[in-house]
Symmetry: C2
């Protein structure tokens, strides 16, 4: 896949950006824009921040190792960028969650009853556990190289699994928001097409990222010695 | 993971069965049961058949190689079971799709407008392509062992990717059906809890299956020479 590596990364970036732009367009143009005042415009921050942090930024953080390691960049810089992108994603995700809870509380809407919220809490909990384990085992200097080697495959597996769960949570959330926004869905007005397209772009982004991460490691330009975990 | 292999397979089976039972209970007990007469009871066949075929049966078909190859079973029997389970899944899936189209047409409901349907058609198309390629390359005797070896990693990757997309489609469909069934969702009546639990079980099933399929191949009891593709 060496010839396909750069085109696939560019495809992933295009799909990830399309996801963020389509969700932003839906919330910003068709559902009233953004505010921080308990109104539905505060809610609108939630989908934009969650897709940007838990899909686009998270997906890019997972690809950083494939893109940069082995290229002439110090390994600690790659690790710091991976961790930094995930910490930035965590901050944006926290603001995105605060927006929806504040909006619900300000309007007397119950929290945490929907499949979207159950999935979301499971995903965010696993994401935070993965972040803490990753920081503790790979970034801090305490873990033995044996522990690092034995944890690596779990970290990679759950990295992709949690990204996929994050995407599934977004899809369910998009469907929920379409129903709450009370458009005539079956007539496919512009916001319905934009919402459907955003969902499809999210799925295509995650499949492309997973393909880049798991397929034919040896042929990628970032081919390197994976046993060097420091 | 050798010690964990059997418990993980049992966990996957429990989660897969729970998914089918919960969806069956929701449709059979709370949404009026089943029929083939254009009524909403015909629609009810759709969720049950799709989850049973495209999640439970498909997930099991993917695990058959891990569970049986290397055990003292002829390889052709394992291949035939894998292909047979997927062909049975295809038949059940076709009936499940016929149920929803007939129900829509009988009631003047438009087809193919929702994110659920867009995702579903993408997933089913990729599933059928994967089935045709799998049959043509692995089961029929025409392909060279070189072609088989080079296609195997794509077949495995897309097997898991399509299973994940199938699960995501089910989740979006569950959310859609909750809204169309007009319960007071936020009060979490029994069918809402059952539907949420079914969604969570589907996610947990697919994550467990993906873990079984991708992690630590060497330590599984089905450790074998993967280069023997005949």
């Amino acid at each position: 896949m060496s010839k396909l590596f750069v085109p696939l990364v560019l495809l992933a970036e295009a799909l990830g950006l399309a996801s963020c732009i389509l969700i932003g367009l839906w919330m910003g143009k068709y559902l009233g824009g953004f505010a921080w005042d308990g109104s539905s415009q505060e809610f609108n921050l939630h989908p934009v921040l969650m897709v940007t942090s838990m899909v686009f930024l998270y997906g890019n953080a997972t690809m950083i190792y494939r893109i940069f390691t082995g290229v002439n960049v110090p390994r600690i810089a790659v690790k710091a960028t991976h961790a930094g992108a995930l910490i930035l994603a965590t901050i944006m995700m926290s603001v995105g969650l605060a927006a929806v809870f504040q909006n619900h509380n300000a309007n007397g809407i119950p929290n945490m009853y929907s499949l979207h919220s159950w999935l979301g809490i499971a995903t965010v909990s696993m994401f935070l556990l993965q972040l803490v384990l990753g920081l503790g085992i790979f970034l801090l200097p305490f873990a033995s190289s044996q522990l690092r080697a034995s944890y690596l495959s779990s970290h990679v597996f759950f990295g992709i699994a949690i990204l996929s769960m994050s995407a599934a949570t977004c899809l369910v959330g998009i469907m929920e928001k379409i129903f709450f926004s009370e458009i005539k869905y079956s007539a496919l007005p512009a916001p319905a097409i934009i919402a459907n397209a955003a969902g499809m772009a999210i799925v295509a982004f995650v499949v492309t990222v997973a393909y880049i991460l798991t397929t034919d490691k040896a042929a990628s330009p970032s081919n390197r010695n994976y046993s060097n975990l420091q």
